[in-house]
């Protein structure tokens, strides 16, 4: 029952996404062909990447303002450092423990790479390797919050730690 629910939500979300892409590319012309192409694309996407988690769309949408604010912060921070004479760089590495599933960990890495001062470099044994631009600036404080947001978007419940 739960699995079917995940399947149908994924079908709905992906139809919405891919249908939206078709509509914006064609300017709402050729809708019959668009419907066919969208259906095919959704079928292919569900085959290649079966849904495993119940994605909560409104939580993803609610996350967008934070993401954009973080992108702006990240860009401004890096621009200020690039133009300032001494750049104030103190690069270092962090290992972030996370129990997010594989796909979500990649999403977290991609997002962190656009947030201020952090850059993901893949993961090892479930730990995300994060490069920090300035170890004194407290960039890493934002990481748990991002991970938590992504976990709630995909409806992932953290395993209880002993």
């Amino acid at each position: 029952m739960f699995r079917m629910q995940i399947f149908w939500t994924a079908l709905f979300h992906r139809s919405l996404l891919l249908g939206g892409v078709w509509t914006s590319l064609t300017g709402a012309e050729a809708l019959a062909l668009g419907g066919l192409v969208t259906a095919l694309a959704v079928w292919l996407s569900l085959r290649l990447l079966p849904a495993t988690h119940p994605l909560v769309l409104w939580r993803a949408v609610r996350h967008i303002p934070r993401f954009i604010a973080g992108s702006v912060d990240g860009g401004v921070d890096v621009a200020r450092r690039a133009f300032s004479p001494n750049m104030r760089l103190r690069p270092g590495w962090l290992e972030v423990q996370t129990d997010l599933p594989d796909g979500a960990r990649v999403v977290l890495g991609g997002e962190l790479s656009l947030m201020p001062g952090t850059l993901a470099a893949g993961s090892e044994d479930g730990k995300l390797l994060v490069h920090v631009l300035d170890t004194d600036a407290g960039f890493d404080n934002a990481i748990p919050r991002e991970a938590e947001d992504i976990a709630t978007i995909i409806g992932h419940k953290p395993k209880a730690r002993p």
């Binding site: 300017g27 992108s71 621009a79 470099a121 490069h131």
Partner: protein
Amino acid sequence: MADIATYVLTGLGLVFFIAGTVGLIRFPDQFSRLHALTKGDNLGLGFIALGVAFQTETWAQVAMLLLIWGLALLAAGTVSQLVARAAVSESQKP
């Protein structure tokens, strides 16, 4: 009015693209350089898309600009991770 918004926003976008490039040249190691490229270009493209959006005539064109920015974001986040990962495993080689 719309023209002024376009000038200001695309101008800002260019500043961030230049910042990304300056960072790529000035920053000391390959990981710091990746920071500059991904974050600078992401914001630069965002401002340019926003600026161009003031010249559009239909909502479909706005949607297309959003799509372009979204896809570029996705690519930036993914590619920077791949490049960083490759650089890590390269530097760990004996």
